[in-house]
Symmetry: C2
Subunit: 395 residues, 2 copies
């Protein structure tokens, strides 16, 4: 056989969500009448905005006629969408990002996984622990050295500053999985580190729409000097519910000498753009009506988060996140159960799924991630069941 | 700044289509009333099938309701589409490809560019000349050694067999840019080479739907033993006109020990699946009505190809391809012009765009690629204008 990439052998077996799914299926088979509620996945439950649906219907009508159909989209994104993003997500907030710094893609997962191709193989990469596993695995596949930045309760789950010189740092705020948000001062410390150490920050702000506290930055470019050291990724998935539609974008400032041009080269060579239909749907999110719809849905999820957090706190778990984020990070260590032990207990005894923190990294042990992106009635019912379990003394 | 991937510096400046666009704009500015006709691009001009439009409209309706909306698609593709592909594109032709060997993506360009990530960095890669540049550039970016397999008229543009041991071979039939098709015997020679040399074939059959000659293979898996040595990529772009919709698939047989599992790992880690809406549109292509619509459109393009080829031959150019492919590869060397010289002459004097063969590699010098994927009236008009130019003695 052909000689394969040797670094795949270094990947951890990463079957977190698959293992969760298998265990849920087992329980379902033994209890066919049970209604299993999932607060485990990070997927959305509310439909996509009507404004986007209408725009996509119109786009489909165009695609059905020779005289109006669209062929290959521009690899970097249609100008109408890049302009809408630059204006509505940056310039309207006083952030100087121009159209040719915005690149449309089919998902933040792809952007976050692909961006490392621009870096040399011997770059040292710093990754928070716990973490969204894509940062880690995409760099393991490329054979890079990784150092972990522990995130602990005493520091409100902000990653510790690297102790050695690193070349690339991944940050995510509002954070998946901890729901923590970085303050301007905390981000500034990372921007300063990057400036001093010739390092680059990959800033994942997929959950920025959940930030309602005005003192919390939604973009790393709110920090002076960040355009010289940071790339930012964002998504329509957790704002407009596009998880099943697929649209995102990445900002690569021109101040990042060379990287802007390299990303254009990478994208032109390896990507053929996002569906015209989808890009029209994404553009509509920025209409007045679209913004209203998105704000309403985000409020719904944030209310879920409040209900889940309050409920878990009443049960006696110390909780983090959930205020400007759709995730609640609950400390379950006092139960004496491991993350996986707690998962199995909740699943088998309350038919409730939540995600074991240890699945996101060693520092996640003793914690559980609860997602607020489900339906209201499920959040209410799940909390009732967990309370019941606590009253029975099972957790 | 961060240390960047050094191999980007080895990329050839690849501005073929951009240069063509710039030159076309210049001519348009000087001749604002001229109607420029393009037989240059490989993009389609006919709308996507009504059956697909209807399926996507229905999918949109589902996405507009909380109770029927779909979130994250499966990374490897929805079962309904993987099954439809395995059945309609393989099993119905007697080719034993199973659902778990089919992986849905957002485009063959991505698949062809991403698949090299599975191979070791020191693999030697063989690439035809002339060639679709993505094979070459994605491997240059990964720092691999490339050997070129010249394709010449005397061999009907089939790549020469590698003279040294190579690890990976890219093949494309029906070919872009030459329109040549490989016979079973020719493919068998490559399968034999790969079997003997522990090499892997990446077989790009994006244009398979244009094959009307029953003796010409549409899939490399028509060759005995190919499942042990070949990956195949295919697209809905040039069959159902999905260039602006984005859907494709890649077959990685389980016989390719390890690669099937590695591709699953790669895709699960770096990709979040294709839009549900798009996958429903792709599935509809396999309905009886969808197949009829596709066959009608392909016949239309093949008739264009016949018209263009006959016209160019009448003018005196020796032509290749165009019979089972949407591209005509015309030998213009007798004009004394280079490919770029011919391009400029045709553009400035006849307002017709075609693609300089040298843009696809050194062996393409003296040839031009004419695309039959445009509209009938444009094909007819373009040929008239080129005839006129010939009569005036300008070419």
């Amino acid at each position: 056989m052909v000689k394969v990439n040797p670094f795949y052998a270094d990947l951890l077996p990463s079957y977190l969500f698959r293992d969760m799914g298998n265990k849920a299926r087992e329980v379902k088979e033994k209890n066919p009448d049970a209604k299993i509620i999932s607060l485990g996945i990070g997927d959305v439950s509310r439909h996509i905005p009507n404004t986007s649906i209408k725009a996509m219907q119109n786009a489909l009508t165009e695609m059905a006629d020779d005289s109006t159909m669209r062929g290959y989209p521009p690899e970097l994104g249609y100008a109408f969408l890049r302009e809408a993003i630059a204006k509505n997500d940056y310039q309207d907030f006083g952030i100087d990002i121009s159209v040719d710094e915005v690149f449309v893609s089919d998902g933040s997962k792809c952007d976050v996984a692909n961006v490392q191709e621009l870096f040399a193989a011997d770059c040292v990469v710093a990754i928070p622990d716990p973490v969204y596993p894509v940062y880690r695995d995409s760099n393991i596949m490329a054979g890079r050295k990784i150092v972990y930045l522990p995130c602990r309760a005493e520091n409100n789950f902000m990653p510790e500053m690297p102790k050695e010189k690193v070349d690339v740092i991944y940050l995510c705020s509002p954070n998946n999985p901890t729901g923590a948000v970085a303050s301007k001062e905390q981000l500034k410390a990372f921007v300063d580190y990057a400036s001093k150490n010739d390092a680059l920050i990959i800033f994942d702000s997929a959950y920025k729409e959940f930030v309602r506290d005005k003192s919390v930055p939604k973009s790393i470019y709110e920090i002076a000097g960040a355009k010289k050291v940071a790339i930012e990724t964002r998504s329509f998935s957790k704002t407009a519910g596009f998880t099943g539609v697929r649209c995102a974008y990445m900002v690569v400032p021109k101040e990042l000498s060379g990287l802007n041009a390299m990303w254009i080269r990478r994208t032109s060579t390896k990507f053929n753009g996002v569906s015209y239909i989808v890009q029209k749907g994404a553009e509509a999110v920025f209409s007045d009506e679209g913004k209203k719809e998105v704000a309403e849905v985000i409020s719904y999820y944030l209310e879920n988060a409040k209900i889940i957090k309050k409920g878990l706190e009443e049960i006696g778990f110390k909780c983090f996140g959930g205020d400007n984020a759709p995730y609640i990070w609950a400390d379950i260590s006092k139960t004496g159960l491991s993350s996986w032990g707690f998962f199995e207990k909740l699943l088998s005894r309350a038919f409730v799924i939540c995600t074991p923190g240890s699945g996101f990294g060693k520092c996640g042990e003793g914690f559980m991630r609860f997602s607020a992106l489900g339906k209201r009635e499920d959040a209410l019912e799940a909390i009732m069941r967990i309370k019941d379990l606590k009253e029975k003394g099972e957790i």
